[in-house]
Amino acid sequence: MLNKNIWILLSLIALLVCVFLKPIVMARPVYDFQITFDISQSMKVEDHVAGDQLISRLAASKAAALDLLQHLPCGSRVGWSVFTRRRVVTLTSPVEVCDHYAGLASSLSNISSRMRWANASGVGKGLHQSIRAADGMGETTRIVFFTDGQEAPPLRSGDRGMPKTDRYPVSGVIVGVGGLNPVRIPKTVDENGQITSYWQASEVVQKPDAPAGQSNEELSSRQDVHLSKLGRLAELIYLPMDSANQLADAAMVSSLAHQKRVPVDLRWIPACLALLFLCLRFLPGRARE
C-alpha cells in the first residue's frame, strides 16, 4: 500500500511547488521586425494560390504578416511600413506585439493599395530605404520586405537598382510574392475594387537594352533572380513565398533573434509532474489472480 501511495505524496509535493512558484526572469529569444509592404500596382495581381482560390500578392503578404504576428513571442516588437515608387513611408514604429496586438492587427488590415501615393516601383531603392529606416530604430530591429520584385521602370540588364547598404548592419528577410508565370497588371479599378483595365505593352516603359519584342514589362511575375541578388548584396535572407505560414518559420530563426529578459511562467513543469504521478498511481494494473 505504501509503495503505491508514495505517488500521491510526490504529487502533493509537486503541487505545493507549483502553487508557490513565482515567474522566473529568463533570457528568451524575441524578435523586432519593421515590416514593409510593396503597395505598387503589380502587387494587385491575383496570382497567389491560397487554398482553392487566387488572392492578390498584397493580400498574401498581409496574411503572412498576420501569421507572423500571431506566432511572435511576447516581448517581440513589430512596426508597419509601405513602399511605392522610390519611397518607404513608415506607418508605425515597432511596438510590443502582445500589449498592442489589437492595434497592430487593425492597422495591418488598413494597409491597401489605395495608400499608393504614386505609381512605379524602384524595389532596390525601397529596400535601401527600409534598411536605413530600420538602422535608425535601434540595433535589434530587423526588416521584412514583401515585394514581387517588379521594377517599374525596368532596370538596364546588370543594374542592381539599389544604393550600397554596407553602412547599415541590418539583417532580415526579403519575401518574394506572386506566381512565376507573367500575368497582366491591373491599371484601374472601380469603387468596388473590380479591375476595369490592365496595362498595355505600349503604355509601360520597356527594357531599354532588350531586342524589340523581347521585353514584356506590362506583364508581371515574381522576380526570384533579381530578389535573391538583392538579398545577397544586402545580406538578407531571400524567401520565395508559396504559402502564408512559411514566413514565421523563416523569420523566427536564431540569427534574427535577440535575447530579452522576460518573466517566464514555469508552473507547468511541477503541474505536469503532479499529473504524471497521479496517473502512475491509478494506472490500471493487472488484477491479482
Partner: protein, 332 residues
C-alpha cells in the same frame, strides 16, 4: 462580456485521464479467501468512493489548469470627460522642412531649428499623455490619406504612429480634400458617445473642388464634428488669419481653405503655430474645449484562472494523501 477561453485548448484532450481512478478499482483489492461472512463495510465503501472521486477531481483540475483557462478581456462602461478626436496629420515632404523665423534683431545665433513635423508630434504626444481616456484615430495624409489606426485608446500604439511620421521623408504632393473625407469617415457607423472633433495639422492650404466641398460639409454636419485647424506656419510670409476680411488682397490657398471652414456651419477654430509653445497652447485650448461627458469603455485584462485551479488541486490532493494515511492505519 467576458468569455472563457483556453490558452492551449488541445490539452483538454487529456481530460479522460480523470477516469483512471474510477476504473482502477481492482488494483487496490486485498485478497480474502471468503468475504460473505464479513459485515458490509458501508463506511469503508463510502470512503473508497470519496477517494476515487477526489483523485478524478484532482486529475481533472490539473488538466484544465494546464490548458490555461482565462476569461477574455472584458469591457466596463464608464462615463468620463473627453472627446473622440480624429487626428489628420500632414505627412507630405514640406512638413519635414524646418520652421523659418524672422532673423532676430539683436543678431543672436539662431537656435536649433525644429521641423514642422517634429513640432506637431511633440504637441500631439502631449495631448495623448494628458488625455489617455479620449478616443483617437490617426490618419496621415499626402496625396492619399493613410489610416494608421481607427479609433482606439491604445495611446502606446498611437504614439508609435506619431513617431513613425518623423522617419524618412514624406511624399511631395498633398490632397487635403481626400484626407478630410477620410478623417470624417472614421466617425461613420460609430454610435454617438460624446463630442467629436477633427484635428487637422498642416502647413499648407488646398484648393477644393465643388463636389469635395459639398461632401465635406455634409459629412461634418451629419456626424456633428467640430474642426480644429492647426496651421503650422511655413515662414514669415504666411497669411495672418486674424486679418482675413480686413485685408482683401490676400487670396492664397490657406485663406481660401480657412474661409471654407468658417462657413461650414460647424464649430471651427484655427490656430497658427510656429513653435513648441504656440503649438502646445493650441492643443491645450482644444483639450479644454473638448471636455464634455464621454461614454467610454474601460478594458479589464483577462483573468487567469489557472492559479485558483492549482490551489484547488493542491487541496484535493492533500485530502487524498490524508485518506491514504487513514486507510493504511485501519488496515494494520
Amino acid at each position: 462580456m467576458s468569455a472563457l477561453g483556453f490558452h492551449m485548448p488541445w490539452l483538454l484532450l487529456l481530460l479522460p485521464l480523470a477516469l483512471l481512478p474510477l476504473i482502477s478499482g481492482k488494483r487496490d483489492e486485498i485478497p480474502f479467501p471468503w468475504t460473505d461472512w464479513l459485515p458490509a463495510d458501508v463506511s469503508g465503501q463510502r470512503l473508497h468512493w470519496l477517494w476515487q472521486g477526489l483523485a478524478a477531481l484532482t486529475i481533472g483540475l490539473l488538466v484544465i489548469a494546464l490548458a490555461g483557462p482565462q476569461s477574455s478581456e472584458s469591457l466596463t462602461e464608464r462615463i468620463g470627460r473627453g472627446a473622440e478626436i480624429s487626428i489628420l496629420l500632414d505627412r507630405s515632404a514640406s512638413m519635414d522642412g524646418e520652421v523659418k523665423r524672422p532673423i532676430l534683431r539683436d543678431y543672436q545665433s539662431i537656435q536649433v531649428q525644429e521641423t514642422k513635423n517634429g513640432l506637431a508630434r511633440q504637441a500631439l504626444s502631449w495631448l495623448l499623455s494628458q488625455r489617455p481616456e479620449n478616443r483617437y484615430a490617426l490618419t496621415l495624409f499626402s496625396v492619399v490619406p493613410m489610416r494608421i489606426v481607427d479609433f482606439t485608446d491604445d495611446t502606446g500604439f498611437l504614439q508609435a504612429g506619431l513617431d513613425a511620421s518623423g522617419i524618412g521623408r514624406g511624399p511631395k504632393e498633398t490632397n487635403m480634400g481626400l484626407a478630410l473625407l477620410a478623417a470624417i469617415k472614421a466617425f461613420d457607423q460609430r454610435p454617438y458617445t460624446g463630442s467629436r472633433a477633427v484635428l487637422l495639422v498642416s502647413d499648407g492650404g488646398a484648393k477644393l473642388d465643388e463636389e469635395t466641398r459639398i461632401k465635406i460639409k455634409e459629412g461634418m454636419q451629419r456626424n456633428q464634428i467640430s474642426l480644429y485647424f492647426i496651421y503650422v506656419q511655413s515662414g514669415i510670409n504666411t497669411p495672418n488669419f486674424d486679418l482675413v476680411g480686413t485685408d482683401t488682397s490676400s487670396n492664397t490657398e490657406e485663406v481660401e481653405l480657412h474661409l471654407f471652414f468658417k462657413n461650414l456651419g460647424i464649430k471651427y477654430q484655427v490656430f497658427q503655430a510656429d513653435d513648441v509653445a504656440s503649438m502646445g497652447e493650441a492643443v491645450a485650448t482644444i483639450d479644454s474645449q473638448e471636455n464634455l461627458p464621454l461614454t467610454y469603455y474601460e478594458k479589464n485584462a483577462g483573468i487567469d484562472y489557472s492559479r485558483v485551479l492549482f490551489i484547488l488541486a493542491l487541496i484535493t490532493s492533500a485530502a487524498l494523501a490524508l485518506i491514504a494515511a487513514v486507510r493504511m492505519e485501519t488496515l494494520k
